[in-house]
Subunit: 300 residues, 2 copies
């Protein structure tokens, strides 16, 4: 069985009853599980993390729209976080037994259904983007709901699906496909913040490092140590073990050792199994040798 | 959801129709999957590997008895492999979300049902054994089916469940709980067989090494290299990464490096994730951070 993760961001983080209705709507869909949800009142925004069978995840997104579109009116929505729509962003994430290309197809099908059923225009982003100008979420969202009618009046910002103008109360939705984010930190056995900052600069994409690494050096004041704090945005292409090895080598340059590392939040099993394969020098290993994978694949 | 593996050994490896009936019987049980099966005509024995929900695995074992007991008569059974019963051995193996103690309970419940429904006496072995004399399968099986009536006549060999005499055609069954076996090999970048043999001697339990390691050194003639060939009998107490590190260090003693390692057959995800935790120096990591584990736990 394939597993897709989906992390819809909704523009409601204050009214508990509406958030609960959305949670319940997702919970009623078979073969999908809500793994996490959090609401931020100052952002006035909620993030739902769900995962399961691809068709079920799509059904859960539509169930979420069913509740959110009539309940939330962006004309009166205020919050610190930028937003374009009631259901603002819907990323699909391949976890197991599914490719990125399949998640792009799923994103397009979901976008088509959203447009048809709710008359909400949809922009495709990241791996599902139809033009490089729409790869980055922030470029699509610039101007926010308040500037959307004017933005969409230009041919350049015709939506990928749905009407060529914003939904009056629900704005527009950005749907796409991306790899899972892994929040990964490496703590160093030193209090030298300059060392953490120099290592972060060496390994992050923006300053010449690995393509799928965002990193910064920070001090953990209460523990008297420093941390290389990272987001790994594509663990298949920039694997966790390669980042660990690089940080370890860079630290040695300063006579510093790695104290420990940590993963914050969820991680796909494949990212850790890949690390085991690397360090154990495993050859001829296939994912279906993992007993749990075999169980999933053979489930009807 | 908990996952238990079960690997029944049945005394029939020649008549395809009977083996197929057993496979079909297991296949009809919900929430259990047959992961593998193999039949050896010279042993006249078949091994079925199944896994799933604990109650479902128990139901599948009883379904297997339902087919095997009427179809197989040990009085006319001939084969090279020692055997005591039609369904000879039934080990339950904890894979995920279940403890060894729970597998022992499952073994006892299954044994009780086997005795009640089929009038087959059952001996408990390994982690489920009721006395140290019954820990090892070979001690229970010594004398085989042909010597069983005489053996059971002594109070020392009263069964743990069922009648105090063999079933006339089905003998007795040995039911128990054990950890999963991991077949793990490390190939060395040398053709020096003495090095592989000395490393195997250093790390195996029988000659003073790790408690849950069986090992021997063999030559891979066609590749011109040697191998430390191992069975890891408890990956929680003697983890795969510790064995890898020890072999790597011992090899360095002879100026030899590890070329690669390999896992033959199935491995629980936890054994590989444990290796990732070790090498990445992961701290504060919980199994429920693995996305797939969360999905399993939350499934209804």
């Amino acid at each position: 069985m394939a597993i897709v993760e989906c992390v819809p961001n909704v523009s409601e983080g204050r009214r508990r009853d509406i958030v609960d209705s959305m949670i319940n709507a997702v919970g009623r869909v078979r073969d999908v599980r809500l793994l996490d949800h959090s609401s931020d009142p100052s952002h006035n925004r909620s993030v739902l993390t769900m995962a399961g069978d691809p068709a079920a995840v799509k059904a859960a997104v539509l169930a979420l729209f069913e509740v959110a579109v009539p309940a939330i009116d962006l004309r009166s929505h205020r919050g610190e976080h930028p937003r374009l729509g009631v259901v603002d962003v819907v990323p699909f994430v391949p976890i197991a037994g599914v490719t990125m290309a399949e998640c792009v197809v799923l994103a397009r099908e979901t976008a088509s259904d959203i447009a048809a059923r709710f008359e909400v225009p949809v922009f495709l982003y990241e791996a599902a983007a139809t033009t490089p100008a729409r790869t980055n979420l922030e470029d699509i969202r610039r101007g926010e709901f308040e500037g959307l009618a004017e933005k969409m009046a230009s041919a350049e910002w015709a939506p990928d699906f749905g009407p060529p103008r914003p939904h009056p109360t629900a704005g527009a939705t950005v749907v796409g496909a991306r790899m899972p984010l892994i929040a990964y930190n490496i703590n160093l056995a030193t209090d030298r913040l300059d060392v953490a900052k120099q290592i972060a600069a060496a390994i992050r994409h923006s300053s010449g490092g690995f393509r799928y690494v965002k990193a910064m050096g920070i001090a953990l004041e209460d523990r008297g140590i420093v941390q290389v704090s990272m987001n790994l945005t594509n663990h298949e292409k920039t694997p966790i073990f390669r980042v660990f090895e690089a940080v370890t080598r860079e630290a040695a340059r300063y006579g510093v050792t790695v104290l420990e590392s940590e993963i914050v939040g969820l991680v796909p099993a494949a990212a850790l199994i890949g690390a085991a394969e690397y360090f154990l020098q495993l050859e001829r290993f296939r994912a279906d040798q993992v007993l749990e994978t075999r169980l999933r694949d053979e489930r009807e």
